[in-house]
Every structure is written in structure tokens, then in C-alpha cells.
Amino acid sequence: MTTALPRVDVAPVASAKRRRRAPGWLAVVPLLAFTAITFGLPALAMLNGAFTVKDQATGATSYSGENLSSSLQGAYLTALLGSVKLSAVSAAIATLFGLLLAQAVVTSRFRFLREAVLTASGVLANFGGVPLAFAFVATLGNSGVLTGRLGLKDAGFDLYSFWGLTLVYLYFLVPLMVLTITPALEGLRAQWREAAQNNGATHGQYWRHVALPVLTPSLLGGFVLLFGSAFAAYATAAAMVGSTVPLVTLQIADALSGNVLVGQENVALALSLDMVVVAGLVMAVYLPLQRRSSRWLA
């Protein structure tokens, strides 16, 4: 009896400790193994393929930077720059309008309006891809509802162009900006505005010297996030413009499916690598900015 008691006391603690440690990494192993295969393998294949050159005559393969250099030349370079330009322009416009809209909503006295816009933003930011493209084709496309009625064609408007695509991209970029910037705007304390006003600052001075400096990391971070979103977008552009606007995602798709030239698969992989590098840079800029801006939200 007396020897049984301590054993009962000790055993659960020891076993609980042992068991707590065991599932710690055992439960994580399947996740890591899964991503190593389903994500790691394709990533390595892309890296390997981007640097592999296959001799058409002999079939021999060798490593070189040829694919990467041809992915940065001619039509491919045009497409890459086109993507960067489209993403930068639409992200910049969306940053401005997103800020204006978020500010209008945050300072609103109507709680309902606020909640409605924020919920709608959550929905619209997720609304990309195919349905978005068709909604705009139905509205402003060649036989769109508004195109004929407003005589947009005669006015020189073309949805299947750079600016047309920008207009479409804003549809999911502006809500994304509203979601990103709202916490920062809520972090602007009323006391700061009052302090500025007590010191005789005008509305404009308050924004220039107090609000914007505080918001800058959030705004830049938001811009970079939007840029990344627009840069990676494929479905909307593919469903809408075909290949009238040169974009790197469309080029990769064409090269992958052998639409243009046979044997361009490895150039497609090199282009993909270019995209990963750009997206990686985006994240490398975004994460520190986000950390910095979150300091004000505490």
C-alpha cells in the first residue's frame, strides 16, 4: 500500500511529460513531410529546370544560365516589365483610393456604414479571378451593357488594354488596401490631432507632419502587398485579355502549354524563377514594414 502510493503520484507526471514531448514534433512531422514533397519538389524542379539546357539535336542536358538570360530578353522581358508596370500602377492607384475610402469610413459616425464597408471589403478582396473578368466584360467589354449605351468605344475606351486591366485590378486591390490600412487609421489617436490643433496646426499640417509619417510604413507595406497580388494574378487577365497586354503570367502559361514554340518549357521555368525572385523581394520589404507599423497599433 505505502509503496504503491508514490508510484501512483509519480507515474502520471512522468508519463504526461513524456507524452507531451512526443506529440510535439510527431504531430508536426506529417505537415513538414507533406510540404517537403508537394511544395519542395516542384520548387526544386523549377530551380533545376530553370538552369538546365537541353540540346535539341543530341538530347544531352547541361547546366547554364541560358534560360535565365533569354527570360530577360525580347518578348519575355517586355512581358516581365509589363507585369511590373501594371502591378505598380494599379497598386499605387489602389493605395491612394483605398486610403481615402478607409479614412472616409473610419471617421464616419455611422457604425453600420463602417461595418458594411469592412465586410464588403473582406468579400471583394477575395473576389478575383474568372467571375471578376466576366463581370467587367459584361459591363465594359465590346458588347458590354455600358459600352454601347455610353458610346465608350467612340470615346476611345478599350477594356482589353493596359488601362482597362488596371480598372479591373482595382476592383480587388482597393478593398485589399482598405482592409490593410484600416487598423493603422484606427491607431491614429484622437489626442494627436487635438495636440496638433492646440498648437495651432491646420488640417493639412496635421496630415503632413503627424498622420502621414505615422501611416507611412503601413502605406508602403500595403502598396507592396497589393503589388504582389497584382503581379501574381493570372486568371483575370487570361479570361479577359488573352494576350493583348503582355504579362509575365500569360507568357509562362503560353510557354508551358507549348502555344508559341516547342521546347520553351525551361524558359517558362526561368520566368517562374524571375517571378519568385520578385515576390520574394516583395515579402522581404513587406514583413519589416508590417512589423514597424504594428508598433503603432498596440
Binding site: R20, R21, P23, G24, W25, L26, A27, V28, L31, L32, T38, F39, P42, A43, A45, G49, F97, L101, A104, V105, L118, T119, G122, V123, A125, N126, G129, V130, P131, F134, A135, A138, T139, L140, G144, V145, L146, F172, V174, L179, T180, Q197, H203, G228, S229, F231, A233, Y234, A235, A238, I252, L256, S257, E265, A268, L269, M275, V276, A279, M283
Partner: protein, 277 residues
Amino acid sequence: MARLTFSRTRVRPGRGLVLAAAAVYFLVPLAASVVFSVDSGDHVTFGAYSQILGTEGFTDSLLLSLELAVTTIVLVLLLMVPAMVALRLGASKLRSVVAVVCSLPLVVPPIAFVAGISTVLKWGPEYLSRTPLFQTIVAIQNENYPFVLVLAYVVMALPFVYQALDAGLRAVDVRTLVEAARSCGASWPQALVRAVLPNLRGALLNASFLTLALVLGEFTVSHLLGYQPFAVWIVDISGAQAQMSVAVSVLSLLVTWVLLLALAAVGGRRTPSRTAP
């Protein structure tokens, strides 16, 4: 005080203008889509909507998308929930590893990811034709049920599922819950299923809805691998039946909205932003 009222009156017309412009920009395409899908020259017809069910490929592609979505949700939760709970209980070294692994898919755009996948799939006939791995590679590309898409979607869903679960776990004291359950004599699976999971209901729903929306709208990967789930089907019919493709887009939009609004209502919080496709 005078200055305060001054600044308020100065801001308000601007605010009205911004809100009105936003309302026009965001509502007109939706309204125009509805008009486009019911407009047949001189009268209104709902033919595009009533014919949807009978159109070839609609049921098949929608069912395929739903099957893929359910499998993806089950698989991603089976992988993520035990791992995330375990990380809360200990194994703090692995915590940052998992955080990095789960955000890596954000750095690889879907189009680059699918370029890698199709390269790996090509290894099957090229190098592995005499090994049992070849059978696996053939099996996951089955036309009727392309499991390779599920694998890809799980990877693409990881960042959102991680965010949702992480937010949910932050609000719960997992260690206390588990220890309480354990000291009441529950086994590890019991503690997980009956003590931890009920407290994570919101986060699990959140993660499931986001994954569902992701899979239902996914176009890039499935299109380039040559399968025809829902989004690909809409594009494929758009050439011949423009009106119907818009009608289906409107419907799929409504469904997605209802899902995400339900999520917003259930979760009681805004949906985390995600990179648009």
C-alpha cells in the same frame, strides 16, 4: 472648438464624394452583369439562368470542384490542426519553422507553382517508368479525380489556414484545456477532440470557408494541368455562350458572398485578407 467644427464641415463633402464614387465603381459592374445576363435585345429573359443546369459540363465541373474542396479541407485540417496544437503545447523550436513553411507558398505565385508541378509530373514518363512511383504519378493524375489538384490546393491554402488557426489558438489557453482534460482521465485524442476542438470552432470554420472559396474559384493550376473544374468550365463556355458565362459568374459570386458573409457573421471578425488570384 471653432476649429474642430470647421474641420468637420470641411471633411464631410469629400467623404460623401469618396463614398459615392466607391459605391458607383463597386456596384455598377455587378448590376451591369445582371442586366447583361437577362437582356436579349428588346425584352428580359431568364433563359441564361434556367438553362444552366442542363448545360453540358455544369454538373460535372461543379461536382468535381466540390469534391476537390471537401478533400482539400479535410486534408489541410488533418495536417495543420494537430501540428498547430502541438506547437502550442511545446516544441517551440519548430514553431518558427512551421511559420516559415506555411508562408512560403505566398512567395511562389500559383503560375510558378504549377510550372514546377508540371515539371515534376513529367519526370514520371521520362525517368520513373520502371518504378512503382510511376504508378503513383499516373494515379494522382486520374482524369475523373485529379488528386494532384488536392495536393496543390493544400499547399496554396496553408498560409490562410495557418493564419486562421493561429488567431484561434491565441484566444484559447490550450495547455490548461489539455491538462484539465488529461487530469480528468481523457486520452490524448479525447482531449484534442472533446476539449480543444470545440473551442476552436470559429477558427476551424474560418479556415474551411477560406479554403472552400479558394478551391471553388481556382483557375490557374487546374487550367494549366488540363482539368476542368468549375472556374475552368466557365471560361470554356464563354466563347459559345457569353450570356451564360456571365450568369454563372453572377451566381458563383453570390454563393461566394453568402459563404464569406456567413463566415464574417460566424467568426464575428473580418476575414483575413488574402492575395487575390
